[in-house]
Amino acid sequence: MPSASRLHVPHPPARPGEQADFSYLKLAPAGSVARPDTRAPADQVAHLATTLVRVLDENHRAVGPWDPHLEPTELQIGLRHMMTTRALDDRMQKAQRQGKVSFYIRSMGEEAVSVAAAMALRPGDMLFPSYRQQGLHIARGRNVMDLMCQCLSNSKDMCKGRQMPIMYHWGGGNIFSVSGNLTTQVPQAVGWAMAAAIKGEDHIAATWTGEGATAEADFHHAMTFAAVYRAPVIINVVNNQWAISTFQGFAGGEQQTFAARGPGYGIPGVRVDGNDYLAVNAVTQWAAERARTGAGATLIEHVTYRAGPHSTSDDPSRYRPKDEFKSFPLGDPIERLKHHLIALGAWSEEQHRALEQELEALVSEQWKESVSYGTMTEGPSLDPDTLFDDVFKEVPDHLERQREEMRKLRGA
């Protein structure tokens, strides 16, 4: 027996140059998990937090009680949204490397987490994303050009040049603004949901945060308030194993799953295969029905993998094996849905390649048009006078004076 305590410092299973090792991930076979009644109290569904809800099996068939029985046409739409998201990410990554945009964050490998969830919700439901859920915008029908113009801070930028790239919002599409401050949106989503309940409306809120950001106090606030008021909200934790260079063990994932935090607050926690479009869709439907019928909040942990660098400012080869994603046991969400559709006889490799090309062309065309509305270096550009607008609803005297001071300095 040791005679003193010893500080435990978590280590990821593999570092650069070492063999990728995902043996720590607790998996479960597709179709093996029961689907409880959506009104079940948290303590009766505790098993959902430690197992893994999966629908697509090794033969690409949908199996088990969580199969959402989606029509092939709807699955094709979901596949298209995920592929559009990836095509956009690839184009913007290139644009950053060419110096056309200052910064970008891809969601490669995590497309199902946003697209399949958005497809399970209603247009009136309010979405509070973090910075890696651009798929929500795509799934809600947003023109990729609007997203590109934001990244370019150009004359059509929805944020009027005030936010870094990827910090989108969409008032008309009920998608909230992305903030640089992690996890702040999670308790805000709970408040939005409380307001829906106060007003007696059946809209719900859904929010996303990474597993790293669950360490923030705001996550605890969100869970507490969601539980106390049985707020109609879905709290999604996207466990992509990495918070920049920090593996999920540093957020508290070594001894227990992130979904298992739910039952401690009296909220069901569901751990789902985040790369299984059907499973994400089905679990979101389950949670949405709970919320809409007054049974309260649900915590969903999406087990996935951050396939790309954290951002364009990051080089993951300095802290994890280069090919780690290839060994990730849950694969790639786009590949898996593609093979499922092929297994259904509703898709083919040829159709897939043709769609890839179509989307690549579409994204390139939209990029060309976006650039025509200006870049960081070329016009047309935003009027700098507008930098004083929207601090308050009306511009107060001291800001009018500063605007005038800046105008004079610019010789305008």
């Binding site: 009027k160 005030r162 603004s177 805000q188 989503a189 601090v391 005297d397």
Partner: protein, 338 residues
């Protein structure tokens, strides 16, 4: 006209707004069933129901975050932080979120949240029941900051704050809840019924945000202050025999530069008085602004009478609190021009 103390006036403001506008909700720790630790929300839950006046967990960050979410969903939350000293856990939600939401979304999203915050000392509150953190909030772009000094302004300013589509941090000097205070703790307490500003209309009225008030006209020195020290400064001016013009700022952001600069240009002398600590306190912003606006009119250096740059002490409260003697000394000093 009815007599109200500041607690009753604030209660009346929320009562009026809860009655007029279904989107107004009152929320915070102990505000509901119990009616608030200072009784400011007394009776409101009984009258409007537990969905309009909501008791909340002890989590300041959660209170402000959920208020933001509610504001985005069309409600008009009036949230309470029990003491200003406990607002820091919510600082990220105020500074990074509440204040910036309209700006970062180019006006597509905003949250019209009012944050009520009992503040200030003079009550033996020690380190964590006495602070005046208004300068921290004045430094954040995108929020308005107000502090009334009497029941009439308290109600009118709170109604203005609730109706304002911009977020407002509403500081309530708790030393003034039950009566005006001239800085002498040994005198018996005086009720608001002895003060003209204790007369408060029952219904809806507004005191505009961004307008200071000259509470005592004078010709020799301008005293700029707010909150509890308005009353201390009035007593000090009277005792000093100096013809001081006393201005109650009422709004810290936006600041009524015109009223203060006009007064200082007239008197040529200025004393700034606040309870908060001096270094980087709001008095520094006032002094800098007046130096820019009134440089050629100044007959003496601008003087600041403030709390010392220490945490707020328990035992040495009356050595710390900027009382009449220190204000009188400053008035004499600027009048002498040395």
């Amino acid at each position: 006209m009815p007599q109200m103390n500041m607690v009753q006036a604030l209660n009346s403001a929320m009562d009026v707004m809860l009655g007029r506008d279904n989107s107004v909700v009152v929320m915070g720790q102990d505000v509901g069933y119990f009616g608030g630790v200072f009784r400011v929300t007394d009776g409101l839950q009984r009258k409007y129901g537990e969905h309009r006046v909501i008791d909340m967990p002890i989590a300041e960050g959660g209170i402000i975050a959920t208020a933001i979410g509610m504001g985005v969903n069309g409600l008009r939350p009036v949230s309470e932080i029990q003491f200003a000293d406990y607002i820091y856990p919510a600082f990220d939600q105020v500074a990074s979120e509440l204040a910036r939401l309209r700006y970062r979304t180019a006006g597509d999203y905003f949250a019209p949240v009012t944050v009520r915050v009992p503040a200030g000392g003079g009550i033996r509150g020690g380190q964590t029941h006495s602070q005046s953190p208004e300068a921290l909030f004045a430094h954040i772009c995108g929020i308005k900051v107000v502090m009334p000094s009497n029941p009439y302004d308290a109600k009118g300013l709170l109604i203005s704050s609730i109706e304002d589509d911009d977020p407002v941090i509403f500081f309530e000097p708790k030393r003034l809840y039950n009566g005006p205070f001239d800085g002498d703790p040994n005198k018996p307490a005086i009720p608001w019924s002895t003060h003209p500003k204790g007369e408060v209309p029952d219904g809806h009225y507004k005191v505009p945000i961004g307008q200071a008030e000259i509470v005592r006209p004078g010709a020799e020195v301008t005293v700029i202050t707010y909150g509890t020290l308005v009353h201390v400064a009035e007593a000090a001016a009277k005792a000093s025999g100096i013809d001081a013009e006393i201005i109650d700022l009422r709004s810290i952001v936006p600041l009524d530069v015109e009223t203060i600069a006009t007064s200082v240009k007239k008197t040529g002398r200025c004393v700034i008085v606040h309870e908060a600590t001096r270094f980087s306190g709001f008095g520094a912003e006032l002094a800098a602004t007046l130096q820019e606006e009134c440089f050629w009119h100044l007959e003496a250096p601008i003087e600041r009478v403030t709390g010392w740059d220490t945490p707020y002490p328990h035992a040495f409260e009356w050595e710390y609190f900027p009382g009449q003697a220190r204000i009188i000394a400053a008035l004499k000093k600027v009048k002498a021009g040395v």
